[in-house]
Symmetry: C2
Subunit: 215 residues, 2 copies
DNA sequence: ATACCAACCAAACACTTGTGCTGTCAAGTA
DNA sequence: TACTTGACAGCACAAGTGTTTGGTTGGTAT
């Protein structure tokens, strides 16, 4: 019996098993792991099908190397995501936590896919979970995770986390400095901008990404 | 000589080597790999330092298992990204592309961090890039990447991609079926819902995530 | 001095694991 | 029938690899 891929059912099981094994253990299975768990009679049968999988390009193998089976799209897997610390929760009316004062090592980590940004750029980035709907004009929902890079200045057009001193509130807006005053423009074009004095604004960081999971 | 982490220079070199080895080969190094490449005199020295690293929680080891050294950060599903195909662009007024009709293998891939969803759940998920501001009431901006799971029905409260037949337009809304008609509720509470007949609505998929990069 | 200990060294040992036969068996196929 | 081929079985071997044992070295406290 063959699937659309030209793999026998046994080969598909093996392929699937390899993937699950790695996900579970973090290292690749030995031939005998496959044999035992898939209840295959002999190691040579596994070797036989492994060779078939290799010929079909479904797996990579390094001859003689123990547990040297790898899946093509899993290789170098930790290069596709970078971890940034999840430092806390952002709500309106609360300044952002200072990354310096938090135990970055102990903090939860968030995986950031490297399509969003190179590892280099993620150096000084940390994550915050959004509570409430106060950021909705920045197109950020309750429960979203915001990626911020710590910086205290901004260029025009940057989306920044800005602390408004008079209201003691943090907000995420696009930043524009225009003849002495500051315009904070919501990302949502149906909302109105805030105008205020530059002295009233403290930039706390630049928004560099948003992750939303609806699972 | 010790670093801030309490690791000797040799331990740091080993740790670094393990990471590089995995990035390069896709499987973990054997003790003798470490010994040879780091020009360490004996396997027992490597074993000695490996045990130290393990005690300090810097590596995980599976006794007796060949190449069973793993790094906590890289181990297992939770810290790994999963790739889903980027099938195209979503704009208002255009039905979604049918994943069946697109060469999924050839499509660009988007890395999805597994905090957003387990690999299992990402099985039937694909990604679309958003063009235009038509999804702004779903808190989705121009340039965002939307993750969709293909399905043609939905539960109340699900955020779905709905095709409105009379307008021939796709929109992302929360789905509610209420006494014969359908309410499509924007995620943005300042916007108004759409009411329409069930026959006028085709569910094209469920929104399971959003990625936004502002770099 | 002596004792102690972390770190290192060398070699042997024993388990783990990939490979290489030699067959079997059913399904084509000339 | 006789021959081939794909897929499976069983088993033994050798190479790959983690572990152990006994010893050395240099520093530090007693």
């Amino acid at each position: 019996m063959r699937s659309a891929d030209g793999l026998s059912t046994r080969q598909e099981k093996i392929l699937n098993y390899i993937q699950e094994f790695f996900a579970k253990h973090g290292y690749w299975p030995a031939i005998r792991d496959i044999q035992t768990d898939l209840k295959i009679s002999s190691t040579s049968v596994v070797a036989y099908n492994l060779k078939a999988l290799q010929d079909k390009g479904k797996i990579n193998r390094q001859g003689k190397v123990s547990r040297g089976i790898t899946l093509p799209n899993t290789l170098g897997v930790h290069n596709v995501a970078h971890q940034v610390p999840l430092l806390g929760i952002i709500t309106a009316g609360q300044p952002l936590p200072d990354p310096e004062e938090v135990d970055v090592e102990a903090a939860d980590k968030v995986d950031v896919p490297l399509d969003l940004a190179s590892a280099e750029k993620l150096k000084d980035v940390y994550a915050l979970k959004v509570r409430g709907l106060s950021m909705i004009d920045a197109l950020i929902d309750d429960g979203d995770i915001v990626l911020l890079r710590r910086q205290d200045s901004a260029n025009n057009g940057d989306m920044v986390a800005a602390l408004l001193l008079d209201e003691n509130a943090v907000t995420l807006k696009k930043f524009y400095q225009e003849n002495g005053r500051v315009r904070l423009q919501p990302a949502n074009s149906t909302m109105q901008p805030i105008f205020t004095m530059a002295e009233n604004v403290r930039i706390q960081g630049r928004v560099v990404g948003v992750l939303r999971s609806l699972f």
